[in-house]
């Protein structure tokens, strides 16, 4: 579904992505692991067109590299950035509404009501300005906002940051639910535990490249790789 070939990305002069290749399929959760600062977030941004990508990105058989980010979003990719990027001046519902591609139009699987069901706190806070939400609430809001746009593929960058352990489990459940609904999920995670728990496949990034690909089991059984690319 999402196919990345030989992807490069730059910040000014610094060359961050150096020819990454990966694919994400419908209905699967793919975890992207790696040390801090290797460029996992950059990969998400490059896919979304927020950082100019050099290379080839294909979604649903169509080339999306080089397109404007709103076009990419319309092609069906949702994005949950690592800093959450909630809109501070807007209320919770307004944030969710902005997630919809057309006014008042969500997909069938995720609707406002469904969101409120999953996370009643958001319903209570419906009309409060989003910037006063607690850190965890903001994280949830950011994720649900992406879902409002009814994406077929979703890039989730460190969704469990700052979440209480109990909520982390909720997030995992939501991600699983998404995959079951047939979405392609690319999960960028720091916490090995959850990544290994729910992922179908795993990529590890190092030096701006994909250095490892495998299933969670394989990785669990491969301490050298973990040692070399994930730990210090």
């Amino acid at each position: 579904m999402l196919k990345i070939q030989d992807l490069h990305a730059y910040y000014g002069k610094s060359h961050v992505l150096r020819g990454a290749n990966m694919t994400v399929n419908r209905g699967e959760i793919v975890s992207l692991l790696g040390r801090n600062g290797v460029g996992r977030s950059t990969l998400c941004k490059a896919v979304m067109g927020l950082v100019p990508p050099v290379g080839h990105i294909e979604f649903d058989g169509k080339t999306i590299s080089g397109k404007q980010s709103h076009e990419i979003a319309h092609a069906g990719i949702g994005y949950v950035p690592e800093d959450r990027a909630i809109f501070p001046g807007l209320s919770v519902v307004q944030n969710l509404e902005l997630g919809m591609k057309k006014k008042g139009q969500t997909g069938e699987k995720w609707t406002l009501d469904k969101v409120y069901e999953w996370f009643p706190r958001l319903k209570e806070r419906e009309h409060t300005p989003a910037e006063v939400l607690s850190g965890g609430e903001q994280q949830m809001l950011s994720m649900f906002r992406a879902l409002m746009g009814d994406p077929q593929c979703i890039l989730v960058d460190e969704p469990t940051e700052g979440l209480a352990p109990k909520v982390v489990a909720d997030v995992a459940a939501i991600l699983k639910q998404m995959a079951e609904d047939g979405l392609a999920v690319l999960l960028v995670e720091q916490k090995l535990s959850i990544a290994l728990d729910i992922a179908d496949r795993i990529y590890i990034m190092g030096d701006g490249n994909i250095v490892y690909e495998g299933t969670p089991e394989e990785l669990k059984n491969n301490p050298e790789i973990r040692k070399e690319w994930l730990e210090v």
């Binding site: 801090n36 706190r121 700052g162 209480a164 109990k166 730990e231």
Partner: protein, 251 residues
Amino acid sequence: MTTRNALELKGVKKNFGRAEIIRGLNLEVHEHERHVIIGPNGAGKSTMFNLISGRMKVSDGSIKLFGNDIHNLPAHKVNRMGLSRSFQVTNLFQNMTVMENLRCSLLWSEGHKYAFWKSVMGQQAVTDRAYELAERLNLTEQAEIPASLLTYAQQRSLEIGCTVASGAKVILLDEPTAGMSRTEANDVIQLIQRMTGENTLVVVEHDLSVVFELADRISVLVYGEIIATGTPEEIRNNAAVQEAYLGTEVH
């Protein structure tokens, strides 16, 4: 060892409109202790920090810092009384270099106030302190780099450095390790331990390994109330805490 209370919250309440977020919160933080606050998302931990540090006004109740009432004082006054805080979202002087950030954080506590008749660079004491801080933060090499160009982890360190710089006796840190890898988090914990030494420390954290490593005592904040306070051991074994916060998945 004295058990003088550095911070004392009594019956503190805070509501936003009709929503009551903090509902009669009682908390005592002893002097020199490292006190960690845990609790579910949206329990009111950051709000509590905002109340203590003067960023928000309390609706009811009292807050005492070493026995002095500080609730509803403006933030800068609270700070001058010896309390300093960091933010959940990095909050630095982005256009200033590391040294400048540190210097700015030192100015008041070094007694320079609003002076417009002396040069900052001429204040040797400030310069020395700032260099010393930068060294302890491992930011000497980045000393002349604007804060906005630091890596995330470096920014968090600087944030802690600025918080500690003012020489406050009580330091509040809101999720100091958020967004960091294990190793980075470990560094930061060490940094905190190194930097805060004798100070009283109140930390909000979700990362349990950090929590248990750092804490002398732990309080659990749920729905605007402290439901339990105790040593890490006590908390780990507290059923109510497990139910409310840790969930099934205890690491």
